[in-house]
């Protein structure tokens, strides 16, 4: 305090009065002794806070604190456990009967009923509402009637036929196709229930969402500044240890990192790449790592004549020394990928990617020679410039030049959207960099979108009907365990085809202040708010 005053006096000629008046507010309140205080968590400005409209990690972190879903992902082991649901039953993975726990109320006092879930999901699925979570409802029977093929037409229905209320605490969900991992899907934030009050004025609701979760809004969303939530006394589930959480909006990670160093912000979930080298020294034991679901790979597009031969693709993948790049470029903050799905999902087996992901320069060269070499002998690796990918792409290029004797250059596109547009138009951009993180903890959350012929992120034209039918067979299983077996079978098809070269598994590189303890950042890069406490 004294130092501050001196500083103010130095700066005075200019700002005397204002500075001194403001000084009194400078004290850090909040985290008092003995826990149960206030924690601040750095986020980026969310796009929306209406759960059906949230598909970004900052918004997800906030709504996760405000709502309790039917199921949730257990932060430690990524298993699916029941949250606001008493039980969820199915015999065929097609019709699911969901019974709610007693006693859950919205923050405005209303009881949470089966109808609230049904209304919220119908709202999310109704095309004209344009909700970001719209596609998550597409497995429910009757979704198509709410989302006609002609985008300008008014949908024929407002309610999905697959949702039926049995009584106030029970409802059934019928899917159009059986899906064994439905319980996992329902852990995603778009499936949270909204109270009746929400639909009266959804814009107003978005500014201060009323949820059914462990925290409730304190005031409304202060755009670009912060969102404050406080523990909700009427919450029936596991209660959080802290009383208040302040989500502080930072636009630039460097600013947030400076605040973390100065102990001004309690948790930063992703330390910026440029600070990775010094972070350990800056933060000491406040520097932490935890597994994240992010997965980086190199797409080897089948539409490109260079990569039509799977042996060529395999040779390229084998010639990459992932561990070396992890150590040198990423300073050990990532892991070399040894599989086509992230290790955080149930069903991942270490080393399941087989030979294709094991570095063997000599064998790679032999395979490439046996396959007649790389057509034209030169390779381009395209990446988006705004994501800090240049260094490792160049490193991979160097390895390929050295190990395979081919030419290789990295090529930058300004943004991922540009890269995607070109890939979709099947422009020759060579191999390209892709990233993925899960929506829900299941192998399916990687296999379907990335490798199935119709996958939403399969921009590289991989199309293997046997793979698709094996994944589909997994979906049809009556249990999650049965499904995982089929998914693992499907992964082995990828091992033969090598549609992409898996590169790295991400980790959360996070830091926290000395005022908090028990900080854990889960696989989706969200802070576990039930565990964290102040010292």
């Amino acid at each position: 305090m004294r130092v501050r005053k001196i500083a103010a006096l130095v700066a005075i000629p200019v700002v005397a009065t204002a500075a001194l008046a403001a000084c009194g507010k400078g004290e850090d309140k909040g985290s008092g002794a003995g826990g149960g205080g206030t924690v601040s968590i750095g986020i980026a400005e969310p796009k929306h806070l209406t759960p059906t409209n949230v598909n970004d990690s900052s918004g997800g972190q906030v709504v996760d604190s405000l709502f309790a879903g039917l199921t949730k992902v257990n932060p430690g082991d990524n298993k699916i456990v029941l949250d606001a649901a008493e039980k969820i039953d199915t015999t065929d993975s097609k019709t699911w009967t969901i019974t709610l726990k007693e006693g859950y109320t919205f923050h405005n006092g209303d009881k949470v009923t089966a109808q609230d879930y049904i209304d919220s999901w119908n709202f999310g699925a109704y095309a004209p509402n344009g909700q970001e979570g719209n596609n998550f409802f597409s497995r429910i029977d009757g979704y198509k009637a709410l989302n006609p093929a002609d985008k300008k037409a008014t949908p024929a229905a407002k309610e999905m036929t697959g949702l039926k209320k049995v009584d106030d605490k029970t409802f059934t969900v019928t899917l159009s196709q059986p899906f064994a991992e439905w319980k996992a899907v329902m852990s995603y934030n778009v499936f949270y229930p909204m109270p009746k009050a929400a639909f009266a004025d959804i814009k107003k609701y978005n500014e201060a969402p009323i949820g059914n979760g462990p925290f409730k809004m304190k005031g409304s969303w202060e755009h670009d500044k912060k969102i404050t939530v406080e523990a909700y006394d009427g919450y029936k589930g596991t209660k959080p240890k802290v009383k208040t959480v302040e989500f502080r909006v930072y636009q630039q990670p460097t600013a947030q990192y400076a605040d973390l160093q100065a102990n001004n912000v309690d948790v930063m979930t992703a330390i910026p790449t440029e600070s990775l080298g010094s972070a350990k020294g800056d933060l000491g034991d406040r520097y932490k790592l935890s597994p994240s679901s992010s997965f980086t790979f190199l797409a080897l597009p089948a539409y490109n004549p260079k990569f039509t031969n799977p042996e060529v693709r395999k040779a390229i993948s084998m010639a990459i020394n992932r561990q070396e790049i992890v150590d040198v470029v990423f300073k050990g903050t990532r892991k070399a990928a040894d599989s086509f799905v992230s290790p955080v999902v149930p069903g991942y087996v270490a080393g399941s990617g087989g030979d294709a992901v094991k570095y063997d320069a000599k064998k790679a060269k032999e395979i490439l020679d046996a396959a007649g070499g790389l057509p034209t002998g030169s390779l381009t690796i395209t990446y988006n410039q705004d994501g800090g990918h240049k260094e490792w792409v160049d490193a991979i290029c160097n390895q390929l030049v050295k190990n395979l004797g081919i030419k290789c250059v990295g090529a930058a596109e300004p943004k991922f959207a540009d890269l995607r547009t070109k890939a979709q138009a099947k422009t020759d951009i060579g191999a390209f960099r892709m990233g993925w993180s899960m929506d829900y903890p299941s192998m399916e959350s990687y296999l379907q979108p990335l490798y199935s012929a119709k996958g939403s992120s399969n921009y590289y034209g991989y199309d293997n009907p046997t793979f698709d039918s094996t994944v589909a067979a997994g979906d049809q299983q009556a249990t999650s365990e049965g499904a995982v077996k089929k998914y693992q079978e499907a992964e082995q098809i990828l091992v033969k085809d090598v549609p992409v070269a898996p590169l790295f598994f991400g980790q959360n590189v996070f830091g926290h202040s000395s005022k908090v303890k028990d900080v854990f950042v889960d696989a989706r890069s969200r802070v576990d708010l039930l565990k964290i406490d102040t010292k």
């Binding site: 200019v14 979108p449 992120s457």
Partner: protein, 310 residues
């Protein structure tokens, strides 16, 4: 004078439409897929795509879209942000006071420290003070402002704890804006020192000063009334234009200190290719800049009666 102002205002209308057209073109035509850019790397679902396409007329020809935009502008509707859908006017109304506040500090630094030091250096030309300021100003002009900003943030904020590391209005109040204000004003401050010094030094050797001295006027009176008034004409030009610059918000400074001003918003909008937001902010900046220029030209005539506009 009045005719001059009216003529200038008419020119401004032309300049305004010219610049908005160019910015609008660059934002919407040059970016490949604004909807995907918003979503980052995850695919965008059809419902969102259809809704945004309809709302922002993304499927219509460029000139039609520009017409919609101008129509909105003329009726006082800036439209909604592409990301999040908040009314742009509302966002800007929240951001501008912060930027104005920050700009005020920067401006005060420039005027008091910059012009003040310049006058002293000009009067004591060749002295220690003059040489020291020369060196210091060269250093400031030579260092890019983000380096200066990050260095002072680390030194005075993170390490020494004298100034807040980032700005949080309710915690720091006005105190939090002093360091960012200084960084923001530093370049202009250095320039103001150099400019004032030269101008003062030149005027001190002018004939009218010698005459005044010969007349036996007090030195203080000569400096304050005669030399300063004449020396400040170029400085005022510079300061006027600088107001325009400062009000534009400082992308770099506001980013470093997390000050939620216009520059902060503009940077965010550029990053996620939020076209409507970028175009609106830039359009308003153009107006501010043009007005600042007009103000400077009018001030000329006030300060120097020899200048007449017809």
């Amino acid at each position: 004078m009045l005719r001059y102002i009216i003529r200038r205002l008419l020119q401004m209308v032309l300049a305004f439409f010219g610049t908005t057209l160019i910015v609008y073109y660059m934002m919407f035509q040059a970016s490949g897929d604004p909807i995907q850019a918003l979503a980052g790397e995850k695919p965008v679902n059809e419902a969102v795509r259809a809704k945004l396409t309809a709302e922002y007329h993304l499927d219509e020809p460029f000139l039609v879209r520009y017409w919609y935009y101008v129509k909105g502008l003329l009726t006082g509707d800036l439209g909604n942000s592409l990301s999040g859908g908040r009314p742009i006017a509302e966002v800007l109304a929240e951001r501008w006071p912060t930027t104005a506040n920050l700009a005020l500090y920067a401006f005060i630094f420039v005027v008091i420290l910059g012009v003040g030091a310049g006058v002293i250096a000009g009067i004591r030309r060749g002295g220690i003070f003059d040489n020291t300021t020369l060196l210091l100003t060269l250093v400031v002009i030579g260092i890019p402002s983000f380096v200066l900003g990050l260095t002072l943030q680390l030194g005075l904020g993170v390490k020494a704890g004298i100034f807040p590391v980032t700005y949080m209005e309710e915690r720091d109040g006005q105190f939090g804006l002093i360091l960012p204000g200084f960084i923001l004003g530093s370049l202009a401050l250095a320039t103001a020192v150099r400019l004032t010094r030269t101008s003062v030094a030149e005027n001190l050797r002018a004939d009218y000063v010698r005459t005044a001295k010969a007349k036996g006027l007090a030195k203080r009176r000569i400096t304050i009334v005669h030399v300063l008034r004449n020396s400040l004409i170029p400085v005022v030009t510079f300061l006027g234009i600088e107001i325009g610059n400062l009000m534009g918000g400082a992308i770099i400074t506001e980013g470093i200190f997390n000050v939620q001003g216009v520059g902060f918003e503009l940077k965010k909008a550029i990053d996620i290719e939020d076209g409507p937001m970028v175009v609106s902010i830039v359009s308003i900046l153009v107006v501010i800049y043009l007005l600042a220029n007009l103000l400077v030209d009018i001030l000329y005539a006030v300060l120097d009666p020899r200048i007449r506009y017809e």
